[in-house]
């Protein structure tokens, strides 16, 4: 129960989400002379007045996927709007703090809210996927395939939905040009492959030299840990390297 007791979000306000609770009595003091109706709901774009100008605002952690899986679709829908409002509030406060060159307290709150929103979307997607798999035998996800682009490089092509079939869609045919055999592209690919190979080799060399540096500095190092961290490097070869040896004649 421990970790669950600390959670960001105004989940307890769920029941009030539709009737839009107005809980900002502070403005009534400033405006009680005016006869015009003060607009409370725009104040939802701002943090609790207690936190204005404070250095830190404490908050719990974000919603986890496992917790969201327990919730009904309706609850998730309500939670989404709470998170959305919270994010708007934080963005407003951040912007204003930036304009005034003041400290925005606890900027990690923004990440917590966004993480929760990502998790919520993932859970919704998971549920829809399960439905489509049961009903149609397919995931219901946006289909795609691996294609070769005009530069001869492979990429994952995500399909789109169109009103007309492919052979009737002139515009699509013009804009979606995939790889066709081309002398220049062939030449480019050769050079590109070379570049990739060289960068890979350089990376290996860099790791190898680093391992030599480590062996030189820490001769009694745990070799298993070294192997774990640099699995591609031939450690025996590095040990025999002359740079690895100290300034003495080996026995």
């Amino acid at each position: 129960m421990g970790p669950l007791s600390k959670l960001v979000n105004l989940y307890r306000l769920l029941s009030n989400v539709n009737n839009q609770t107005k809980h900002l009595p502070f403005t009534t003091i400033a405006r009680n002379v005016s006869t015009t109706k003060p607009n409370y709901d725009l104040m939802e774009f701002f943090d609790d007045p207690k936190n204005w100008g404070s250095n830190e605002v404490k908050s719990g952690r974000s919603w986890q996927k496992d917790e969201m899986r327990l919730k009904s679709n309706e609850d998730l829908h309500k939670l989404w709007y709470i998170l959305l409002k919270e994010r708007n509030m934080l963005l407003t406060m951040e912007e204003e703090a930036k304009n005034e060159t003041m400290l925005f307290p606890s900027p990690e709150r923004l990440d917590k809210v966004e993480e929760s929103m990502e998790n919520l979307e993932a859970v919704v997607r998971e549920r829809n996927k399960a439905y489509y798999e049961l009903e149609t035998g397919e995931t219901g996800e946006r289909p795609g395939r691996v294609e070769t682009g005009p530069f001869g490089l492979k990429f994952y092509y995500k399909m789109r939905e169109y009103k007309v079939p492919k052979h009737m869609n002139k515009k699509w045919q013009e804009t979606h040009q995939f790889y066709k055999h081309d002398k220049d592209v062939e030449a480019f690919l050769l050079k590109y492959g070379e570049k990739k190979f060289l960068s890979k080799r350089r990376q290996y060399k860099r790791d190898f030299n680093h391992v030599i540096g480590l062996l030189k500095r820490f001769p009694n190092m745990d070799m298993e840990a070294l192997k774990q961290q640099y699995p591609d490097v031939d450690i025996e070869k590095a040990k025999n390297n002359h740079k690895c040896r100290g300034h003495f004649v080996p026995k």
Binding site: M1, G2, P3, L4, S5, K6, L7, V8, N9, L10, Y11, R12, D48, K58, S59, G60, R61, E67, L70, K71, S72, N73, E74, D75, L76, H77, P107, E108, L110, D111, E115, R127, N128, Y132, L134, E135, P143, P150, L153, F155, M159, R160, E161, Y162, K163, V164, P165, K166, W172, G213, L214, R217, F218, M221, D222, E224, A225, L226, Q228, Q229
Partner: protein, 254 residues
């Protein structure tokens, strides 16, 4: 693996334990992106130009001091960090200092810096630091004692609780299936200190004080999900009383 992931993996679990910040925030506050390729057809899609080499010290990656250490254009000499198989030192552990003027003294681990294999022992291995010296006003400043980090590989050792002597440890499984640190010399279990899992927000998870915007634990664990053969959208439309009988005309995916 993306570069940012490699960078981020260097920040150890126990270094960021106390701050209790989401990983996403740590990554965001630490990274220095100079260029990101726009979306669309690109020779290198999703290419990012960003700082790859960071200098880690006693400043945490999300602090202004760290940003100052790693200001754009500022690079420091490479630091070789000995690979360690498993991290054995936790906040609140009793350790013995093996080097320096406090050699032989025992103390409590205060901070952990996994990126550099460092621990800071409370009140030991101190250095005097002059603060606020002003030559014009002939003020010599205030002298402060500041703990210096110690390497876990050869400068500190864990203390065996049975004989209060330094020892090497290894991780073993108990009969209950729990992983524990065992002193190699005596075979005695070195218990995990309670402060190891402490964060800035709570001492232990059970004593966490709820903040005004937190959701109560009972509300979170409440199960409201009822399996139903419909999608998220269909369920909501049903609940809201939206009726939709129109069948979507044929469309083509390509």
């Amino acid at each position: 693996m993306r570069i940012s992931n490699i960078l981020f993996s260097r920040i150890g679990k126990w270094s960021k334990q106390y701050a209790n910040l989401p990983d996403r925030y740590i990554k965001r506050s630490m990274e220095q992106v100079y260029w990101r390729n726009p979306k669309g057809i690109n020779y290198r899609a999703n290419a990012v130009i960003q700082r790859k080499k960071f200098y880690f010290s006693v400043h945490r990656p999300w602090t202004a001091e760290f940003r100052n250490d790693n200001a754009p254009g500022v690079y420091r000499p490479k630091v070789f960090v000995e690979p360690v198989k498993e991290w054995n030192f936790f906040c609140g552990d009793r350790v013995e200092v093996l080097v320096g003027k406090d050699k032989g003294k025992q103390g409590i681990v205060k901070h952990i810096f996994e990126e550099r294999n460092w621990v800071i022992v409370d009140g030991l291995n101190c250095k005097l630091k002059q603060m606020g010296a002003d030559k014009k006003r002939e003020f010599e400043g205030i002298w402060m004692q500041e703990e210096q980090p110690l390497l876990i590989t050869n400068e500190v050792a864990l203390v065996d609780p049975s004989d209060l002597a330094p020892t090497t440890v290894e991780w073993r499984l108990t009969e209950a299936g729990e992983r524990v640190r065992v002193s190699i010399r005596t075979g005695r279990i070195i218990p995990m200190p309670a402060t190891a899992s402490q964060t800035i927000d709570y001492k232990s998870k059970s004593t966490y004080k709820e903040q005004p915007k937190d959701t109560e634990g009972s509300v979170v664990t409440e199960v409201t999900f009822k399996p139903k053969l419909c999608t998220f959208e269909m369920d909501l439309m049903d609940k809201m009383g939206i009726k939709e009988d129109r069948i979507p005309p044929k469309s083509y995916w390509y």
